[in-house]
Amino acid sequence: MFKRTFSTLLIILLISNYNSIANNLYDKQDWREEEGIYTRIYDAKIKLISGEQTSIHQLAAKKPLIVALVFTRCAGVCNPLLLQLKENIQIILRKNQYKFSVLVLSFDPLDSLKDMQNLAYRFNLLNEPNWELAVVDSISSMTKSVNFFPVWDMRKKQYDHDALLVGVNTQGYITKKLIGLRSADEISLLISDINNVYRPSYRLPTPANMFTCFNYDPKTGKNTPGWGLAFIALPALLTVGILAFLRLRGKYHS
């Protein structure tokens, strides 16, 4: 009897696991943002464009960091990443009380401090108080510690890489990552996260669901109603409508 139960279970296990894995591939969930969370970023020595020598941990200790990884000859995602980040941060700064700085690091060994200065000039970041641009001495250890692996494309003579923002708290721990060009709301969420604001839960970047109940609003730390919530309120509203209709009909007939 036990054997039969066991073998049935084993078959169920195999079949259902096969199913779930097949489904997952179909779903194509992107969990790369989960990689390396709560590991420490490599404490690389960096040289800021002001000429100051420091390290990532030392800089983070002053204010939590959003680390953006770019290279100056980039003809791809770096420019929109920085432009959008700058724009979003201007929006956020009007409302957000949390402290942070943006650290733009070059991952290209060919980039000099001069190149980074030019970059700062081009994006008009020289006088921005929350922005630091720097070159780093041990690029591979640093990029490895944030699971960032740019690939050199021989044909384009360009690095093929993600638009990655890494949130680092004052102890040097990576608390959140964002991949891709993201909205001001999500950047703001990142900022509250590197300030160690605990939220018991968050959504995974899964394929967009049309009807979610809540969208997390990082500015206030509260959830704002999404379309899904309307579905929870709908039954009550419809009931009121039906009651009104029945009463009007009842009145008419009597």
Partner: protein, 181 residues
Amino acid sequence: MQQSLLSLFLILSGIIILVFILVYLSSIQSQPQQGMKNPLQKRFWFITIMVVVLGMFFFITIPKSPYYLYANEQPARIVHTVSSQFVFLMSNQDIDPAQPMGENIELNTNELVEFRVTSLDVTHGFGIYNDKYELVAQTQAMPGYVNKLRWKFSEPGKYYILCLEYCGSGHQVMKSFFNVK
């Protein structure tokens, strides 16, 4: 904790049953239609006492809700947990959903651990049991969401994970463990 809740329940139930028995006996033994004197006033006092007692319970228990546990501390450990029919995978590293792999987990006593719990397929429950099989903490594992459960283990030993949300025909065999030293 659970045992004291059971005691509370049994005591309250005992009182309720006793009251109803007394009410029944009063009916059996009564002269015709004496009734309750001033029932509205008694009703008022009964509801007032209920409001006070429930109000106290409410304000005492709400801050103990799991959403506020250790909210102002920095976790020393993150344990990534992925559940799928019918296994739990736990890892110190992030877990790749395309090739989910777990590892043995060893935790230290009194360090703040944050379990980041999610699911690859259906909704599961992540229930942490101690070696005496007492449920100490739990959260749900819902696909598309990550629940963060923060906990400090004061006792060393082996801890078991059991599934606490019905997830299909292997629900009862879904089990894992970790050690606390």
